[in-house]
Symmetry: C2
Subunit: 215 residues, 2 copies
Amino acid sequence: MPRAAKPDRPAEPPTSRDRILEAAARLICEKGYEATSIQDIAQATGLTKAGLYHHIRSKESLLLEIQHYGMDVFEERVLSQVVSIADPLERLKTCMEKNVLLVTQGWSKEVTIILHEHATLTGEARAQINGRKKRYVRFLETSFAEAVRSGQIRPVNPKVAAFALLGMVLWIYKWFRADGPIPAEQLAREMQDVLFGGLEVKPTAAGPARKANRG
Amino acid sequence: MPRAAKPDRPAEPPTSRDRILEAAARLICEKGYEATSIQDIAQATGLTKAGLYHHIRSKESLLLEIQHYGMDVFEERVLSQVVSIADPLERLKTCMEKNVLLVTQGWSKEVTIILHEHATLTGEARAQINGRKKRYVRFLETSFAEAVRSGQIRPVNPKVAAFALLGMVLWIYKWFRADGPIPAEQLAREMQDVLFGGLEVKPTAAGPARKANRG
């Protein structure tokens, strides 16, 4: 998977680095961060300890790298794909679809867990990741506000709408199974329908016209 | 706050027990479970270590107790308040409202974190808590299926609808601040509107009639 090179990253095959980060994420989620040693991670990735230290500086820098990796993949596969969509409603719908597909198929569940549950990062490292997350929240809030102004969605608090979308999408890793009864594409469609179409059928003279009104 | 006595609980003032569990939850979230000692928890609750052991058996049993406490409060303030509502749509809306108010006001954020992020429980203890959580998911799925059958909501996959509601409500602890710009009651109302009313304004001959159709 191609990824924009970061200026602070050495030129090395990204797949090798990503593989290390995915394996480390799985191990940290399984054993706990404290209980996971650099030796464990080296073993899981088929590297020597020295070989692993060629890629990472320390266990804490590895945790930060996993979170940056998660944000890199997210920005590449979701945010950068939709920022240029002019229509705010279309932008938000496509964004939701791509984010659902990312959390169901795009990476290991463990990367999501480390990105959203892991509180071990502190100070500057924590601030870096929070800044990247906040950029996404601001993007959603701005898009919802724009869609309200354009009259495409009801006057809703953009912050509530943004976190409703985020909650629906990011909670998925807690229950979704790739081998379960709901395919990822269907889930993305149904989540879009729930958020943008709403659930309730409103009684109208024309009968249950919600679906018929579409398009 | 009154709570139904559990058969396996000694007769003691529940407020004292709850206070210990809330304090322990805060400490565990702050320092991490591994790094928190029984001595730390005793100190935080103003008890001697012996006094604390009068209430709990071990650190692992304390973690299980915090999760049972979270589920007890949830069942008392949310589930038991709504199970007997005959109308499935009304039941779901009230349930969502009460659950939003619980996560914003009902207990410490740390109890929610331990309930939903803490993976340290294993075996029988883990199965107990998962069983209680699954009971809530089943209740939501059944209610959504019933509301689809009654024609009150669109034909939606009840599992997707249940986890959409859960995601919206349970993600709140990650961003909501009691001293922030959105009061809890407003958040509960807006979240209900987003999930049940949907966001999108559908073009109809009668104009933007979504709000007007209500009631």
